[in-house]
């Protein structure tokens, strides 16, 4: 008779275990970067450029130096003497740490003051006199490539213009042939406006150079501490083993805390020069105007269609505005991230994508904001195109999708852009969503409402996205392969500690990694502590972003636990005095196959590893696993939104939001649902209000939370989640897939499609995000499309 433990009871796979990390957060005992105070610590503030493009004629910091309590004023000139005025980016470009020659965007770092307290440092920043000579400003790709445009990156050799890259993928000739055979060609031009991940906690660091040991410790808001350690070693030319990066609790990341920012570098240099700890905590405006923005991409798509609804081919062109420096982390082989994952869920014979990246006088970025390297843009583009194509054909939205989906029996499926899909149940997900929302019934109500002058709409977004980079053959950042790792130590009493190279920022790793170990070893989750974020103790990993933690680091946790189990089996055979082949495993216990009552628990094996190991066996029960995934994971999602649009005001209200997510095996269903709801709220935000734009002079509009609108509990709609479709990932050790960003990726199109569906028949084909009431009202009233970012209205 089995004596296996009840997995849910011990907090294993599938348990909605309450979060371990909550115990400190609900008491106000979190330990975020700004909560850390070190003895003798000084404070750094940054002086930023008020202009978007200007030559620096002079910087006079003499008054700042005179202010009592000021210890150091750093300028670009001083950085240059140490070869630190510029730093390499994660995409083979360079970025100014402190400006020397020119400022290239509003908010660029010009000088730093280190003082006794942040108030004095801010006072001193204001005392620095910078003489600027304004230059012509470029704020979009069209201006960047215009005849006679000023060259923003005149610091670079071999950079005669503002083009960063031209990149293409797919089969151009085959796609041309598909278009020749088309009955109907559907075309749509879209703009995905610039946005900002905007975690509530801004960026910051405390650099602590210890002169006695020459060791540098940096506490900082980073999603990828090991990458930072490598970057600091290369940029500051410090030995890597003398650098310790500690990423304490992080108040949200969403991709914003992946890049290396000048503030980090300056605090490090200041600490080395002053031999004291130096804290830099960015303010919100600094965060919004200078750190990694997202999106800002112009898309032009064409779809070749057969009259019966079959998609024959897709052509995509895109222009990406990267700002003044190409500084976002992208896999090195893919210049515009995984934009070519667009249309993966649909069986399309031919496709071609051409992308161009350009510089502008805007903050650098293009980061993966809750997104696996540009997949958000890809899926928005895809699902808006799909809706437009179905409308052009006069086909039902759901039927058009169902007809073109990759079918369950067609896996594995190679997309025309080269991705390999391994599994999915796309039609089932769609059906669950349609049933949940009452699709047929809603269409009837929509028609009745329309007769009475009311505008109801329903929007569908169905997509699969590639999450969990690597594999290492195709995915690397600056040549560093995208694998991940886990380290597991089982103590003699059967308690354990697991460490990974990932770094959570709210995803609940401290809870879920323990659940994976619990699933593999039967050690109760409460007996397992999880630690991340300290490069001196955690194994090397690429960090947490792009929904890669569960697919890669989570897989490493399962694999290291299996290594431990393999050793424990040998210990069990020794304790049971049978050969290893006669030992069977059930959750938490090894037993003799022929005598199941004779067994030893995993805890007894752990004790034996330190007290009673067989002759010749290495003592201890510890191991490390590095995991290089064979493929990406491909979660599928169906989001359906219904709205009512008020034609008199352009205001739209969300009636229902239904989410059907197939993310494979759910480690902790409660946490998975939390991730989905968070993503849905961001999707709603993108569609409705959240954008950053610039006026013609390059002034950032959206530099604070009065201008950059984030939805509150009041605006944000309620969500209805469905989890009944589960297609385990065939190559992941526990069948899990990424989920953290799915709803933020697939969701925006559902909201926009719903509003556009409400407007069908009014002659409006597209309104670019954000769907602010005035834009919707203008479209309805004047029967026209609304394109591009909202214009900046000035008083004159």
């Amino acid at each position: 008779m089995t004596q296996a433990l009840d997995e849910i009871k011990i907090g294993g796979l599938g348990a909605s275990r309450k979060r371990v990390e909550d115990n400190r957060f609900i008491r106000g005992n979190g330990n975020y970067t700004d909560d850390i105070t070190l003895p003798g610590m000084l404070h750094m503030e940054i002086l930023r450029s008020p202009l978007a493009h200007a030559r620096i004629k002079s910087i006079d910091a003499s008054k700042a130096w005179e202010i009592p309590g000021v210890h150091l004023v750093l300028t670009g000139e001083m950085m240059a003497t140490r070869n630190l005025a510029w730093m390499p980016t994660l995409s083979y470009d360079t970025q100014a740490v402190l400006a020397t020659d020119k400022v290239r965007f509003q908010g660029q770092e010009v000088a730093c003051v280190i003082a006794d307290d942040p108030y004095i440092a801010k006072d001193a920043c204001e005392a620095i006199d910078v003489d600027y000579e304004p230059l012509p400003v470029i704020v979009n790709p069209a201006q960047a490539v215009a005849e006679g445009a000023p060259v923003i990156r005149d610091d670079k050799e071999n950079q005669p213009d503002n083009v960063i890259y031209n990149w293409e993928v797919g089969d151009a000739a085959g796609t041309d042939r598909a278009f020749e055979q088309a009955d109907v060609i559907s075309r749509l031009q879209l703009h995905y406006p610039r946005s900002h991940p905007s975690p509530i906690e801004c960026c910051g660091s405390i650099a602590d150079f210890n002169r006695a040991t020459s060791k540098l410790t940096v506490y900082m808001t980073t999603q990828a501490p090991h990458i930072i350690r490598a970057a600091v070693a290369l940029v500051a030319e410090l030995p890597e083993h003398m650098i310790r990066i500690i990423s304490p609790d992080i108040g949200g990341g969403f991709g914003n805390k992946v890049p290396v920012y000048p503030g980090y570098v300056c605090s490090i240099l200041a600490s080395i020069l002053l031999e004291r700890p130096v804290k830099w905590i960015e303010d919100k405006t600094g965060n919004l105007i200078s750190t990694g923005f997202a999106r800002d991409i112009y898309l032009d798509g064409e779809m070749a269609l057969r009259q019966d609804g079959k998609i024959l081919g897709v052509r995509m062109r895109c222009d990406a505005d990267h700002g003044a420096f190409f500084s976002d982390a992208q896999p090195s082989k893919f210049k515009i991230g995984l934009l070519h994952s667009a249309f993966a869920a649909y069986d399309i014979p031919a496709a071609h994508l051409r992308a161009r990246g350009t510089y502008s006088n805007k903050a650098p970025g293009g980061v993966a904001y809750r997104c696996s390297f540009r997949v958000t843009e890809a899926m928005f583009f895809q699902e808006r195109m799909v809706q437009a194509a179905a409308d052009d054909l006069g086909m039902d939205q759901a039927a058009f999708r169902r007809m073109n989906f990759v079918r369950d029996e067609d896996f594995p499926h190679r997309t025309p852009f080269g991705f390999l899909l391994d599994s999915g149940q796309y039609r089932k997900c769609l059906d669950v969503g349609l049933k949940a929302v009452g699709y047929e019934d809603f269409r009837k109500r929509q028609e009745e409402a329309r007769a009475r002058g009311r505008l109801l709409g329903i929007g569908i977004s169905t997509m699969t996205e590639p999450l969990g980079a690597g594999n290492s053959r195709e995915y690397d950042i600056l040549g560093i392969k995208m694998f991940d790792s886990a380290d597991l130590k089982v103590h003699m009493t059967g308690k354990a500690i697991v460490r990974t190279g990932a770094r959570g920022q709210g995803q609940g790793h401290e809870t879920t990694w323990a659940q994976i170990v619990s699933h593999e070893l039967g050690i109760p989750a409460e007996d397992i502590v999880v630690e991340e974020g300290d490069t001196d103790t955690a194994p090397f990993g690429m960090g947490t972003y792009a929904s890669r933690s569960t697919p890669v680091a989570g897989a490493a946790v399962a694999m290291v636990a299996r290594k431990i189990r393999a050793k424990a089996r040998k210990l069990a055979a020794h304790l049971l005095e049978v050969s290893e082949e006669d030992v069977e495993w059930e959750l938490g216990r090894f037993y003799v196959r022929s005598a199941p009552d004779r067994g030893v628990t995993i805890q007894e094996c752990a004790m034996a590893a330190y007290s009673n190991m067989p002759d010749g066996m290495e003592p201890g029960l510890e191991n490390t696993a590095y995991y290089d995934p064979p493929n990406l994971t491909w979660p599928f999602a169906c989001y359906i939104v219904t709205v009512e649009v008020d034609p008199a005001t352009g205001v739209w209200d969300v009636l229902t939001t239904v989410a059907v997510d197939d993310c494979g095996v759910r480690i902790n269903p409660m946490i998975v649902e939390g991730q989905i709801m968070g993503g849905l709220a961001e999707a709603y935000a993108m569609a409705n209000m959240q954008f950053i734009t610039f006026d013609a002079e390059g002034n950032c509009v959206g530099s604070n939370y009065m201008d950059y609108l984030l939805p509150t509990a009041w605006e944000t709609p309620g969500f209805e989640l469905h989890s009944e479709v589960v297609t385990p990932c065939p190559h992941h050790p526990i069948g899990a897939k990424g989920i953290g960003e799915c709803a933020a990726v697939g969701g925006p199109a559902a909201f926009v499609n719903a509003v556009m569906d409400a407007l069908s028949g009014t002659g409006v084909r597209n309104i670019d995000m954000p769907l602010l009431p005035d834009r919707v009202w203008e479209a309805i009233t004047y029967h026209r499309d609304i394109s591009g970012a909202p214009p900046v209205r000035t008083d004159d």
């Binding site: 957060f25 609900i26 008491r27 006794d116 975690p199 509530i200 949200g252 969403f254 919100k284 709801m677």
Partner: protein
């Protein structure tokens, strides 16, 4: 009486005589305090760095995000937009005081491993009302002010009461459920 705040600099003794310093007396989480502060010092900085109560977070410095919400004389206040000198003679409550008050409001006795939590703290954990945890203290303090006034709020009441507090992780749905969970528990304690 001790002058508080270690790392806000040394304005009083910097020898210039230019920075005026004011002495204030106030109560924090039931404990009486006195401090010498620059008139421009923000309340949030006094709480975080002067008092070392780092559970009150600063997100935006501009009264928008609500991460720094505390109660002053029982009313929710964004402490980044109040000067420290303004709490002279007043009572400040922060997230660190929630658990202590849990006992007097019928919470279980304080103890190791979860004892003594305020029902709001329990509710946020039970209903997964937090992810990164950065907005959570402010959310709980704003919710506390709501429940003190309205022990039986509707979902809409909760959403309105929290509309000055931003969260980027949760999508708010579980935050609302957390507050309703706490409200129900507080009501049942009051009844029982």
């Amino acid at each position: 009486m001790t002058a508080l705040y270690a790392d806000l600099g040394d304005e009083a003794a910097n020898g210039t005589g230019e920075v005026p310093v004011r002495r204030i007396r106030f109560t924090v989480n039931g404990e009486r305090k006195a401090a010498e502060v620059e008139p421009r010092l923000l309340l949030s900085h006094l709480i975080r760095h002067g008092l070392g109560l780092t559970g009150t977070h600063m997100g935006c410095d501009t009264t928008n995000c609500g991460a720094c919400t505390v109660l002053v004389d029982g009313r929710p206040v964004k402490s980044c937009t109040m000067l420290a000198v303004q709490v002279d003679g007043r009572e400040v409550s922060t997230v660190e005081g929630l658990a202590m008050r849990g006992a007097s409001e019928g919470g279980t006795a304080r103890g190791v491993g979860g004892g003594g939590l305020h029902p709001l703290q329990e509710g946020f954990k039970e209903e997964h009302g937090l992810q990164c945890g950065f907005c959570t203290p402010g959310m709980m303090m704003a919710a506390k002010a709501l429940l003190d006034e309205n022990p039986d709020p509707t979902e809409e009441d909760v959403r309105w009461a929290l509309s000055g507090n931003l969260c980027r992780c949760t999508g708010y749905q579980n935050i609302v459920k957390s507050v309703l969970w706490a409200a129900a528990k507080l009501r049942s304690q009051a009844a029982g």
